[in-house]
Amino acid sequence: MKPQTLARKFIALLAMLLMPLAVQAQTPAPPAEDEPELVEFDTAKTRAIAVPALVAPAPADTAAGNSAALGRQIAEVISSDLRASGVFETSGPNGLRAITLGEVTAPQFDYWKGRNVEQLVEGFVRVGGDGNLTVGCYLYDVGNGNEVARFGFNIPPKDWRRAAHKCADAIYSKLTGEAPFFDSRIAYIAETGPKGKRVKRLAIMDSDGANHRFITNGQSTALTPRFSPNYKSILYLSYSDGNPRIYVYDVDAGRQRLITQSKNPTFAPRWSPDGQTILYSMAIAGNTDVYKISASGSGTPVKLTSSPGIDIGGSFSPDGKQIVFESDRGGNQQIYVMNADGTNQRRISFGSGRYATPEWSPRADLIAYTRIAGDFRVGTMRPDGSGERLLTDSWQDEAPTWAPNGRVIQFFRTEKNSGKTSIWQVDLTGANERKLPTPVDGSDPAWGPVRP
């Protein structure tokens, strides 16, 4: 896992701010080397967690509003993140009493016990001399009456939501043993207009739908975006010159370039996990194959497939050594795996129906896909094709994308007849399905990694 700079900064800061408390030693026994990793947790058993508004000692105005208001808003985001994960039943900040600064480090456990709270999150927001915020959050086990963990972040006021996501991520990880995922972003296609004349625009947002921004104006159709691992660029398909072509868009500069100079149509762009290589598909004389090219724009494309059928898409394994892709070489769409150099191509999907849009989980253990057998459903299987599980059941669910921790999947759902689209989220057990809030219709979600 990458070092979390924000968190690291805070640890030093906290030590200074909250001197008398000895940091509780967290010394879990290291797992034995060959012990199998436990991947399942029981999502049916939710935990009751309370998140009162964060305390703002000496409330002050900031560029993002008064720190007292921010204390409440940060608690709202923490509460909302944890609830949406499906693992927690959250209460607060609405309906919970205000807490004092003293309580942040010395909670009234008996009070919370009486309210059937199992876990308690308390914290504070301070405005520093430099105008930055210091956000501290503490996780307590109410039953045991002890501190479980403390986290903190020093951030510009405009990034207050990130502090809330980081805090929620830290709590989620601490209590579930899973990797974090809230502090991440999503690229997707915003859709408006009637079915026969749909406007499709590239847009980006935080994983909870906040900080939404349209990138393209809708004059030409945009499809299938993918955020680069460092969030600096977005690969996507655009008809801006009248033909479907893959561009790489520089988010800060607002400029884009073709990934390869060719008159042939290009589809289905993907990043390698290290962001150094781009996978794409290109049709020559009607036949589509998978290629890869350096993300720097230099170098020549390498053709990875050569079947007379449609070979398209592709998703790298997290170690970058293999690629899962889709091909109809056997008669209809199925899932294949190959080495990253194109060798050893082999089919892995053998169930009934067609299989499309494979995406390798960031934790390597599963591949998500769209299964077409009448209706479209999102499912997962192991990289060897075993253990097939369908997670959704609707008329048309398509194009799964993984949360950075590989525990949650987003996809898009199309309504019969109207053609209206929306982005949905479901966890690996098929539970906790919910629609993401987007300002207009949405399709083609692409989830990026946890931000450093």
Binding site: L223, E326, N417, G419
Partner: protein, 176 residues
Amino acid sequence: MKSTNVKMTMLLLASTALVAGCGKKEVKELPPVAEGTDYGTQPSDPNAGAGQIVPGSQEDFLQSVGQSGDRILFDTDRFNVDAEDQVTLQGQAQWLARYPNARVTVEGHADERGTREYNLALGERRANAAKNYLASLGVDAARIQTVSYGKERPQALGSDESAWAQNRRAVTVTVQ
């Protein structure tokens, strides 16, 4: 599974026939046509009155190839040019022979019951199938461009076999 496939194919054939039967509906989308005009030989006259069809134009092409003659339809996931399609494309080739400077784009489409990316590739394959057949009839391939819209630009807006049959198409459009 096999018997389901057969049933599906029969259903599709039936609905395709239905669509062909309903083809008259598309006439209203064509521009009005002046009666008794000989489009094939009349020279272009920029001062001609309204309703005049300019030889070599898109209107002229549509007039020449007749109802739905600008497009061929496909079965689910297929891209082959069948006997009926060949007749349609022969009509297009005749018009292209008459106007050797005319250029066309073949637009390939898929129905909504496929995934987005696959359908882009499928539309490209269908457009190329039409292009290849036109080329086999003697049309210079350099005059024919292709573009795929996948499932992004449906012609019929329903979610049923009849709509999907109309949307699995390759449409020839003149380049002006």
